[in-house]
Amino acid sequence: MACEMACGYHRDDGFALLSSCIMVTRGREKRDYSGVVLKEEENLVIARPEGLEIRKLGSGVEAEQGKGKEDASAKPLLLREPCDLCSDRKEGPLCLQFCPVNAISMD
């Protein structure tokens, strides 16, 4: 969530969640199941407890992402700008720097 806020700041110069290209899916609260989804230029990168998955945007497969009722809140991600790795910041992506629990890394 802090990663979403940091990304939102990169986009809007204020604190907001609406334009972030990274999203923590936490709609399956009762099952303690969540993941992190990142929208890239051509891919949707999905990190879940099962492992990492990369889906090609436009292949139709990404429509599977968020098909469940509990994931409805994740759907707007597909409409947002793709990640630019905070290219205007020499320190690199803000989401990495602001994750309070070091859950995100970049290869």
Partner: protein
């Protein structure tokens, strides 16, 4: 109020079913900063109407580390004092982004209602779909009605509806830090729940300065005393219950942080599922998120297994009753079997010894956790540290493990964010005002 604020206060009159908006007066912020400083002022303004005030801290919902906190301010049915209960997880964040920094709820409606606060609008709705339902079903129902699983729900269960002294306002499916019986106030006002969601934008006075300062603070915090620790059992160890990790470990699925909080103070246990499962459970309700260390320890001290204790915590949350009160009164009554304890929820009565003495919820342990603050760390220190957390919107348990989040640093952040020239004198005055 231009910065770090949605600039709106909702005044909700349940008696007339009218909602009016007020601006957040910049002079009020200059004088009271935010959070408990302003919820207390709003409570005093409407005190003749026995209000329930929801609020957020000045830094809530920002990149300031641990800026997760919202709060309920009201007169406790248990103590008769105006007190503050923490709203953690994502409730504080979602309140701020709902478009209102503060919500004053007054009056009593002719029939049960719920509040739907979203995108700068506060609607009073008929609660016929949720009244009579438990906390879990109510949360599910509201999220399905609105089609959004990220809605944060502050609700009461049957304990609140029946106006039990020990009724708790729960957050989504889980226990909260409401140890004041605020659930009873919801019940008295026939207010079943408050649903929160929004997409606001908070502007920042000196944005780059604020963000850089947040980054520096977070870096310093990550090397703090809590760095290698996780979960609620570690908090239990810090308050002298050293065998808790071993007792709880077989059930632990994962630890969870509240919004932007570096220490994961909540622990999810699987009760009807393999805790080592690394995929989504096929079971709809496999476990429970433990958010209250004292509720957990209360049942542990009855000699229950971890599974029975956590099962009872889940039942307490569904019923919307404070697990600390249940465990204490069960112990007094000599009840040690889960079934008989569960049966006692309805009509639970008695006098609690472990009730909060001050203004801030005893959900936060009464001393530093893991860390050394280097000064006198007595009850007065604790009350001030909690006041600071509730004014700025910092997670109140995390505040006890993070000397790096000093008053000076928080004032500096507040000034970068809001540009209003707060000083330590301002903070001292607000703390004195809310401590009266």
């Amino acid at each position: 109020m231009e910065y770090l604020s949605t600039n709106k206060i909702a005044i909700v009159d349940l008696a007339t079913s009218k909602v009016t908006d007020q601006e957040v007066d910049e002079d009020l912020v200059k004088e009271r900063i935010g959070g408990a400083g302003i919820t207390t002022a709003l409570y005093e303004q409407y005190q003749d109407e026995d209000p329930i005030v929801l609020g957020t801290g000045l830094l809530t919902g920002t990149l300031a580390p641990a800026s997760a906190l919202g709060m309920i301010t009201a007169k406790s049915p248990l103590t008769g004092k105006v007190c503050h209960a923490p709203l953690t997880l994502y409730a504080g964040l979602e309140l701020k982004f709902s478009g209102f920094d503060y919500v004053v709820i007054k009056g009593k409606p002719p029939k049960p209602v719920y509040l739907w606060i979203h995108d700068g609008v506060a609607d009073i709705n008929d609660a016929k779909d949720v009244w009579g339902k438990d906390v879990w079903t109510s949360t599910d129902t509201i999220r399905e009605l609105m089609g959004d699983s990220l809605i944060q729900v502050l609700s009461v269960g049957k304990a609140g509806e029946s106006e039990s002294d020990f009724a708790q306002v729960c957050i989504n499916y889980w226990a909260s830090g409401d140890r004041w019986g605020f659930g009873k106030l919801f019940g008295q006002k026939k207010l079943k729940l408050v649903a929160l969601r929004g997409m606001s934008l908070l502007e920042v006075s000196n944005a780059e300065g604020f963000v850089n300062q947040c980054k520096e603070l977070l870096s310093a915090l990550k090397t703090g005393a809590f760095a290698e620790k996780k979960g609620i059992a570690e908090i239990a160890v810090a308050i002298g219950e050293g065998d808790t990790p071993k007792w709880l470990a077989p059930l632990v699925h994962r630890h969870q942080s509240c919004f932007n909080t570096p220490f994961p103070s909540n622990t999810f246990v699987f009760l009807d599922e393999d805790p080592k499962l690394l995929k989504e459970s096929e079971k709809k309700e496999p476990g429970f998120l433990i958010t209250d260390v004292y509720g957990l320890l209360g049942f542990k001290k009855l000699g229950l297994s971890a599974a029975d204790a956590c099962g009872l915590l889940r039942e307490c949350a569904k019923y919307g009753i404070d697990a600390v009160a249940v465990s204490e009164l069960s112990q007094k009554a000599g009840k040690k079997k889960p079934d008989e304890i569960k049966k006692s929820f309805s009509g639970l009565k008695g006098t609690l010894e472990n009730v909060g003495k001050g203004k801030f919820s005893p959900w936060s342990p009464p001393k530093p956790i893991f860390a050394n603050f280097g000064s006198s760390q007595d009850a007065q220190w604790w009350e001030r540290r909690q006041a600071v957390a509730y004014i700025f919107g910092i997670h109140p348990i995390f505040a006890l493990m993070s000397p790096e989040l000093s008053e000076e640093k928080l004032i500096e952040l507040a000034n970068l964010g809001a540009g209003l020239g707060f000083t330590s004198e301002t903070l001292n005055k607000v703390i004195a005002d809310i401590s009266k």
